[in-house]
Symmetry: C2
Subunit: 121 residues, 2 copies
Amino acid sequence: MKYSAINFNDKLEQFSEQFSPKNIARLNDYLFKLVKFQGDFVWHTHDDTDEAFIVLDGDMRIDFRDGSVDIHTGEMFVVEKGVEHKPFAEKECRIMLVEPGGVKNTGDAGGELTAEEDIWI
Amino acid sequence: MKYSAINFNDKLEQFSEQFSPKNIARLNDYLFKLVKFQGDFVWHTHDDTDEAFIVLDGDMRIDFRDGSVDIHTGEMFVVEKGVEHKPFAEKECRIMLVEPGGVKNTGDAGGELTAEEDIWI
């Protein structure tokens, strides 16, 4: 079939690894990525780009140095560029990220949670 | 509250007008827009940009000159730039569009379904 839709649940069933975003669609030079995670991510900053979090299933929180935001299923939030943040989820949460290609998941922080980039599912 | 999430259902309750995208979030120079529609949109092309359709609630179809794609709740599709297309929904469908700022909903076609741009809810 020449044209087919991307089903989020079908894609989410294709991996179990946490903290490792998988590309599912490209829009010009932007990527849509699915990621599963539970627990604390690292504090980090993306100096050159905003980053959109869309919660597909679950509940997450993003901590900032001066506050936090809770994001539930059917909600989204955009972290502005240059703003240090730390995602957290008590139970496994499934989210879609939208950001330009070439963005490292751990931003300026690096470390062991840095994921391999450009994995398509 | 300094940081608050964007709830799709809350935003969708704020308007009933069809075929008229409302901005809900900005990501760099891209916009996330909600739109409700039912019936046939016009054949049109965006010569300069891809356009992402994410179905939040309902079923829609996009017709192309050489095929079509059905997109249901929890699915997305990216129409590549330069590809002529016509969205259709039998019952009212609620979708999120992601595209650069400044894109006209009817693309090159214009006409009576051309919506006012840059309305935020």
